[in-house]
Amino acid sequence: MIQAERLTKRYGPLLAVDALSFEVAPGEVLGFLGPNGAGKSTTMKMLTGFVAPTSGDAIVCGHRVSGDARAARDRLGYLPEGAPSYPEMTVRAFLAFIAAMRGLRGPARRTAVDRAVGQLDLGDVLAQTVDTLSKGYRRRVGLAQAILHDPPVLILDEPTDGLDPNQKHQVRRLIEGMAADKIIIISTHILEEVEAVCSRALIISSGRILADDTPQGLAARARRHNAVTLRPRAAGDAAQIAEAVDALPGVDSVERADDGTVTAFPADGAPIIGDVAALAGERGWPLVELHQESGRLDEVFREITGETVS
């Protein structure tokens, strides 16, 4: 269990994180979402004890980060922003160093390094120094370093930044594979990532939590969620169709685009596709397209954070 208790960080006049409180339970993959400079990284730095909060505290598996930092750190795996490491070290030496710092020695160290190397597919670059690696490999070395000691809590700052689509997929599978019994917190500004791996998302802006929901729950807040789009064969039919659809009881409003596409928005987010389809069948409209929209996270994200940042 991780608890943040009114975590606050002030840099001079700038309030980077403003009394953030939340709890994360094992099995949850929590996504920190927010515009750049929202306070995601600062919050993570406070959870890991790298930065001391101006006020408030974090508790990691029962250990206060302020008072019992060592015990809290033992239970954390952390990938800092940008995946820093020691560029002059070989991957093998670097992972062995981190394992030793984690108190692993002898056969246990070898097992841990081998496991992390296998999970992140680093076997080919073990003898290379970190500064000769591509950005994607460096990120994976950073991830390997974070999971070496199989910690119950993983805090990953932008874990897939700089990876190609295949590598992103691989890292997401890895996170999913570890998610069952761990607490995982990731920060990202890639919204599809939240939908792909997170069981819960916190939208943070200007150091405050603006939304705390499942990715599906957040998507449902979008205006387009469950909206229905119809495209008639002849654009001339659009006016008549729009009028008829608008008269349906569950429909709140209707919009027409220039190409004749008609979009009907539901009154309370409830699905209306059944009613619309039935109506279309009844009237015998010649349609080339009829589909239900799903709410898009980026839309919600813009709606929620837009007013506070712009």
Partner: protein, 244 residues
């Protein structure tokens, strides 16, 4: 203790996989030799001691030790690895001590590699080897003091050039604290006791006694205290501005 050992090993690893170690050792040995024989007049003096060798150590260190110390923390800060290091299960004090000890061990190695000069002087005459050992100890202690100052100033910046220049400047002040260059700055206005205190901080004064083979506990203690004070300051600086 384990964390300190592991960190020392990592630091030394980094010295030796980069050119830092080799450049430092080679330049140190070449300059030490050149100063001893050319400027020090080792042969001309016709005395079986290593005075010409040790006399130039403060000035060698003034250039070389800041170069070694500048990367201690500035590099960690610049690359961001400080965030990795400081979230591992290790305290700030342990990290500061480990990095310092690694650098100190490294200078000890460079110093030990000057052993041919000791063989030479023993071949040519019958020097007081106890005095030579004391001088080596004094040299090592002074290098440690320089390194501790460098560690502290390196922690204040992410720029290694800034760290180098600041360290060299502060070390120069400490070297010459007993001499007019520094004392004149306090001349007209400072009370006598302050002048005496400042003069008492001089590395050169403390080192000269040791380099002549005179072990005075106060000289040894002085260097150890300077090391402890600057390492403590390093930890404070790091705690204060770890993240910026």
């Amino acid at each position: 203790m384990n964390a300190i050992r592991t960190l020392i090993a990592r630091e030394l690893y980094s010295y030796f996989v980069t050119p830092v170690a080799y450049v430092f050792i080679v330049i140190f040995l070449v300059l030490a030799g050149a100063f001893t024989f050319q400027l020090g007049g080792f042969y001309q003096r016709e005395q079986a001691d290593l005075m010409p060798f040790f006399t130039f150590h403060p000035w060698l260190y003034l250039v070389l030790v800041p170069a070694l110390a500048m990367r201690l923390w500035a590099e960690e800060r610049r690359s961001g690895s400080i965030e990795l290091l400081m979230t591992l299960p290790v305290s700030t004090t342990e990290a500061v001590v480990a990095k310092f000890l690694a650098a100190w061990l490294f200078t000890a190695l460079a110093l030990a590699l000057t052993f041919p000069i000791w063989l030479t002087v023993n071949y040519l005459g019958n020097p007081d080897n106890g005095a030579i050992l004391t001088a080596y100890l004094g040299s090592l202690l002074m290098a440690g003091a320089f390194l501790a100052i460098g560690s502290c100033l390196s922690a204040t910046t992410r720029n290694q050039v800034v760290a180098f220049i600041l360290t060299a400047a502060v070390c120069l002040v400490f070297l010459l604290a007993g001499f007019p260059l520094v004392l004149d700055a306090f001349g007209g206005w400072a009370p006598g006791w302050l002048l005496d205190t400042v003069a008492g901080l001089s590395f050169l004064t403390h080192f000269n006694a040791l380099s002549r083979g005179v072990i005075d506990v106060r000289d040894v203690l002085y260097f150890l205290l300077v090391i402890a004070a600057f390492l403590y300051a390093t930890a404070i600086v790091l705690e204060m501005k770890k993240a910026n």
